[in-house]
Amino acid sequence: MTSPKSTAATEPLLKVQDLSKNFGGLRAVNRINLELYPGDLAGLIGPNGAGKTTAFNLVTGVYQPTEGKISFKGQEIAGIAPHLINQMGIARTFQNIRLFPSLTVLENVCIAYHSHAGYSMQDAILRNKNFEVKEKELLEKAQDFLSIFHLEDRQSEIARNLPYGEQRRLEIARALAANPQLLLLDEPAAGMNPNESLALMELIHFIRDRFKLTILLIEHQMRVVMGVCEKITVMDFGEVIAYGAPQEIQSNPRVVEAYLGRGAAELSEKLQRSKAQ
């Protein structure tokens, strides 16, 4: 599978420059740089506590950056409220699923579609024609999203009662309903068995092509990352330590060191050298 390849001529969709975040005395993210081009399917990996989720939270406005710039479609978005960032076209999922637990599956998706509802509050309270038409459209649109994710039969189920895998899918469906250009997935395969992650990998490719999206995902399962991502950024201790295609990353000694420790890194280096000889 190939995506519309990014060339040097196109502008980056998301550009993160020297982004840092301190929590008290702890520097969770230290001057990271990141560029995503339209159509990219990129991965962000790193050991636990490397600052990946913090980076997500900075991009989506949950945290205010201590320093640095984030520009999306050429506009500076650092320090903007999260809901505005979402409305500009960045949607996300969460590491520990955050659905609206006691609402139905359909309502979950409808909420994400809210900023495109197309009727005013007065329309809603008066229940006029405009409301009827637009609300119907909205519900149908939400159903479309559900059926893409094979959740259409589940629409009136309470989200909290869905099985885990479906909750994950619903969360992605919900994120897509916000009509984003950039989708951030925080460990989408967490807790999935190999079969499920396989299906998920295909799903990610599919939605990228179907919705002309740019996707950045955090993932721990190497199989998923290596299988799905075209570019990978590796973080450790709040810093970006490597960037490149999956094969390059796999053989990068700094990455191996970050994951497995120095000894393992030296071992793998030796192995590589012996292979080359």
Partner: protein
């Protein structure tokens, strides 16, 4: 982009939130100004008010500790706590007037010095009301709160309100504590000292104090001493004993504490009991200071102590203490210098202003959003 200095200034004002801060600062300054003016006009009267406030604040502190401990451990605003305080006052009242329990050392050892006998007797009465309150709290906790531990938090809160109603109106029944005001008989005589620049004189009954002196009574002394002692005791229990350690762990994470072999239900009951015991002591001290008791007496002090606990940062023991002292001063000083009918309104306004500046109270740990 136009970046004239005025625009920049406006941007800065908006960014830093100066408009709101100026507003708050103005209100605060106004209040402080009032107090300073009062201080200059009559320093000894001002000091007198501060002492009165201190006396009140220490009673509030004892009640506030119960609120803060229970909230810290089960996240429940225990609205019935104020009524436990009322119960404590009534238990001590009956121990003193009906059973004369404060005089037992004199009965048993007629040769005991009068003062020592009174002290031992009063301490006994206080212990009785503390134990009674603790028992009441354990019963309430077992019947009403424990079955609801896994229910939504609001159910427990409504239950707490129900318990509070029940205790009040049950106490108001004729054969219980009666719906009337009852005059409280102090176990000790009031001795008032007038402290002035010329030294300390003991005031006789009905005598006007000399000018420029501050009145200080043994009641204030008793309240402050007892409160401080009980607070140190509590601090010791929480910080140094096994029970205290277990309490802290349950407050931090109930599930994990249970996995570590802690009997969380027993710990929660203990917490309720300790808090109630402190409220029982506070009930007696309050009745000694303001010797009139009735079935609704717990509501307002309870509410103010609760506000004090929130002010200090609910869940924090030193926070409850500091918050209570602030509430005591705020009440007395605003009654004296700003407006008597508005003194409670001012106390609550202080709460709101503090929450605006520090959303989780003075000693509260900030809530961090986790995504």
């Amino acid at each position: 982009m136009n970046t004239s200095p005025i625009v920049l200034l406006i941007q800065k004002i908006i960014k830093k939130g100066w408009l709101g801060k100026t507003f708050l600062a103005l209100i605060t300054l106004l209040a402080i100004w009032q107090i300073i003016v009062a201080l200059q006009a009559n320093p000894s009267l001002f000091l007198q008010q501060v002492i009165n406030g201190l006396q009140l604040g220490f009673v509030y502190a004892l009640i506030a500790l119960g609120y803060t401990m229970v909230y810290g451990i089960v996240r429940l605003i225990n609205f019935a706590h104020g009524d436990v305080f009322m119960f404590g006052a009534f238990v001590s009242f009956y121990s003193i007037t009906r059973f004369q329990l404060h005089t037992w050392p004199q009965w048993l050892f007629p040769s005991i010095p009068h003062g020592l006998g009174l002290i031992i007797g009063a301490i006994t009465v206080m212990a009785i009301s503390m134990i009674a309150c603790a028992l009441l709290a354990i019963v309430v906790e077992r019947i009403a709160y424990k079955p609801l531990r896994s229910a939504p938090r609001i159910s427990a809160l409504i239950t707490a309100i129900g318990i509070s109603f029940f205790l009040e109106y049950f106490a108001a029944l004729n054969f219980v504590f009666s719906p009337n005001f009852i005059t409280y008989k102090r176990p000790v005589e009031v001795v008032t000292w007038a402290i002035g620049l010329n030294g300390i004189t003991t005031l006789g009954n009905g005598k006007a104090p000399p000018d420029g002196t501050i009145l200080f009574s043994n009641i204030a002394l008793i309240i402050i001493l007892t409160s401080v002692l009980l607070m140190f005791g509590l601090q010791f229990i929480v910080k140094k004993t096994r029970i205290g350690k277990a309490m802290r762990s349950v407050a931090y994470d109930k599930q994990t504490a249970r996995l570590m072999g802690i009997n969380t239900d027993a710990i929660i009951s203990t917490t309720f009991a300790i808090g109630a015991a402190l409220a029982g002591a506070a009930g007696m001290l309050y009745a000694i200071a303001f010797p009139q008791i009735f079935f609704w007496m717990g509501i307002i002090p309870g509410l103010k102590s609760f506000v004090a606990a929130v002010l200090g940062g609910i869940g924090s023991i030193p926070g409850a203490f500091i918050g209570a002292l602030i509430m005591g001063q705020a009440e007395v000083l605003s009654a004296a210098y700003i407006s008597t009918p508005l003194r409670d309104a001012i106390a609550f306004s202080i709460l709101i202003v503090v929450l605006l500046v520090r959303p989780t109270g003075i000693f509260g740990e900030p809530e961090r959003e986790k995504a």
